[in-house]
Symmetry: C2
Subunit: 115 residues, 2 copies
């Protein structure tokens, strides 16, 4: 989770990949969810080609996380990570009412900074 940051992941040289994860939570066990989310956010930084992650959550509404990777090999490595797999399995059982995952090849990007 990157709620504390105040700068979105910037545009990178294309092509690169985005994993969009959009979810609606159950009421269950918010503390456990937060701890696991924070741990996964640290672990993903060790994946080769990881470029950054943005997260936002509307209180009582949708959560969206977008993780960026240089290539599909990084996404596959993260998908195969045993700690990530276990968290996803647990999440489907306990934390998520619904979610969608969209894996996409970024073809154009742009960053605006007022300063």
């Amino acid at each position: 989770m990157s709620d504390q940051r105040t700068a979105p992941v910037p545009a990178h040289e294309t092509p690169y990949y985005a994993v969009v994860f959009t979810s609606v939570r159950t009421e269950e066990d918010d503390d456990g969810y937060r701890r696991t989310a924070e741990r996964l956010s640290e672990l993903v930084k060790g994946i080769p080609g990881f470029l950054g992650e943005d997260s936002a959550r509307t209180p009582g509404g949708l959560a969206i996380s977008v993780a960026y990777f240089r290539d599909l090999a990084g996404i596959e490595a993260w998908r195969r990570d045993a700690r990530h797999r276990e968290a996803k399995r647990y999440g489907r059982e306990h934390w998520y009412e619904r979610y969608s995952i969209h894996i996409a090849r970024v073809e154009q990007s742009h960053t605006f900074d007022r300063s």
Copy 2:
């Protein structure tokens, strides 16, 4: 903005396109921002090939909106829309500290629903 909905945009038949817009707001004129955002959310529904939009905003933090389109022609039509262009111009002057836009071709997707 789709904060009120409780279901994320589902997986569609690939390929399709995602426009990820991640932003940090200024302090300025939240009412004007909300009105414009609501108006744009209605307008984009009229774009051919528009598939849906998910939005989330962490209070005091990042906002993420992801709009999905069947093809690049829809994204281009939305980009050329005069009301959209005017809102973006005004937004750069008044509402946004920073933003990133990533336009991406969705190659894999999946939806989970507990029910």
